[in-house]
């Protein structure tokens, strides 16, 4: 009994430290937006520890043509610090809720130059070991048609038409057959009555 207890405690002690390390950060994979619109980039994390008061979020941005990333947002010590010198000055707003593990930012008035990769890194002391997560932003002039909408509609329309033609054909055949059947029944009925009448008179 004691040995089982000892074994269980050793196993638990072995598991828990591993679980308390490792923060997992979630952002989207890709975001599409129209020129001039606003977009909310979401970032949240999973951690085995309670959300500490020293939780930090930081966003960095790497433009499509650039080699390095620049930092555009940092939340620490309970206060957000937005970009006031870089490409997003006066266009960035913090709309997250760190108490709820949400570190989302709002980008306003998008332009083609904002195409690029946004990386969110969150730390929840003492849980600090984790991999930052990136989301790509694509800015369009007008919303593109979903791939294959025209293709799918052509295929669907033609197949539907063919199916309709086949159904109508078989339905017509069924109607004609029924009409022929009714006619032949009435003919037989008249002939039978006529014969009986003539026989009765005789």
């Amino acid at each position: 009994m004691l040995t089982i207890l000892a074994l269980a405690s050793v196993i638990l002690l072995g598991i828990v430290p591993q679980q308390s390390e490792g923060i997992v950060i979630y952002t989207g994979w890709e975001r599409h937006a129209l020129v001039g619109s606003d977009i909310r980039l979401s970032c949240s994390f999973f951690s085995w520890r309670w959300t500490s008061d020293d939780v930090t979020f930081s966003w960095s941005y790497r433009s499509d043509g650039a080699r390095d990333a620049i930092s555009i947002f940092h939340y620490t010590g309970g206060a957000p610090y937005v970009d006031n010198k870089g490409p997003f000055r006066d266009r960035l707003e913090f709309v997250g809720n760190p108490g709820r593990r949400d570190g989302s930012i709002l980008l306003k008035n998008l332009d083609y130059g904002d195409n690029g990769t946004f990386t969110c890194d969150a730390k929840n002391p003492p849980d600090i070991v984790g991999r930052a997560s990136s989301v790509r932003l694509l800015v369009f002039e007008k919303v593109p048609i979903q791939a294959g909408v025209i293709t799918g509609s052509i295929i669907g329309a033609v197949l539907g038409l063919l199916l309709l033609i086949v159904v109508i054909y078989y339905f017509m055949r069924f109607l004609v057959a029924r009409r022929v059947f009714n006619l032949s029944v009435s003919k037989h009925g008249k002939k039978g009555k006529g014969k009986e009448g003539s026989q009765q008179r005789q």
């Binding site: 048609i145 979903q146 791939a147 294959g148 025209i150 293709t151 052509i154 295929i155 033609v158 197949l159």
Partner: protein, 165 residues
């Protein structure tokens, strides 16, 4: 009878296979890029060593490309459906009747291939991007044109064939 049956079935299956290869393999157009590399492109991806989706294929600029995709897929579907309808009619038809339904489906498939290949030939310049304009037609394009007479001949054969015991 059995010999004729196997021959017709084989013909149908071969035309279906040609349609599948032509639709799926991305080699309708072989472009020689300025870097010296050869790029196989259309209908779905542009491939060299890596495959990228055909540029702009999801916008209204590439309406004709989407139409070609649609007709090629339609013809493949119709060919497969015709195969099953032929098997069905083989067991359901009375003696001496022709396989009209199967013939109609096969002829429609041939019509779709013709429409698709013709649209591609006529409008290719419109939806190919600048760097890929120079080049020649690829193997899938040739296969598509070959499968057109094959499906038409197959359909005509079904029209002529009568069910025997």
């Amino acid at each position: 009878m059995l010999v004729i049956l196997t021959f017709i079935l084989l013909f149908h299956v071969i035309s279906a296979i040609l349609l599948f290869i032509s639709t799926i393999n991305n080699a309708w157009w072989v472009a020689s890029a300025p870097g010296g590399s050869v790029i196989y492109t259309d209908l779905w991806y542009s491939c060299n060593v890596t495959c990228l989706p055909v540029k702009n294929s999801a916008s209204t600029d590439a309406v004709y490309l989407q139409a070609v995709q649609a007709t090629m897929i339609l013809s493949t579907i119709l060919c497969c459906v015709g195969f099953f309808v032929f098997i069905l009619q083989l067991f359901r038809l009375k003696q001496g009747e022709r396989f009209v339904f199967t013939a109609i489906i096969q002829l429609l498939a041939g019509l779709c291939v013709m429409i698709g290949a013709s649209i591609y030939t006529a409008e290719r310049e419109g939806f190919t991007e600048e760097s890929l304009r120079k080049g020649g037609y690829g193997s899938s394009y040739v296969l598509a044109w070959i499968s057109f007479p094959m499906t038409v001949v197959s359909g005509l054969m079904y029209l002529v064939l009568r069910k025997r015991k």
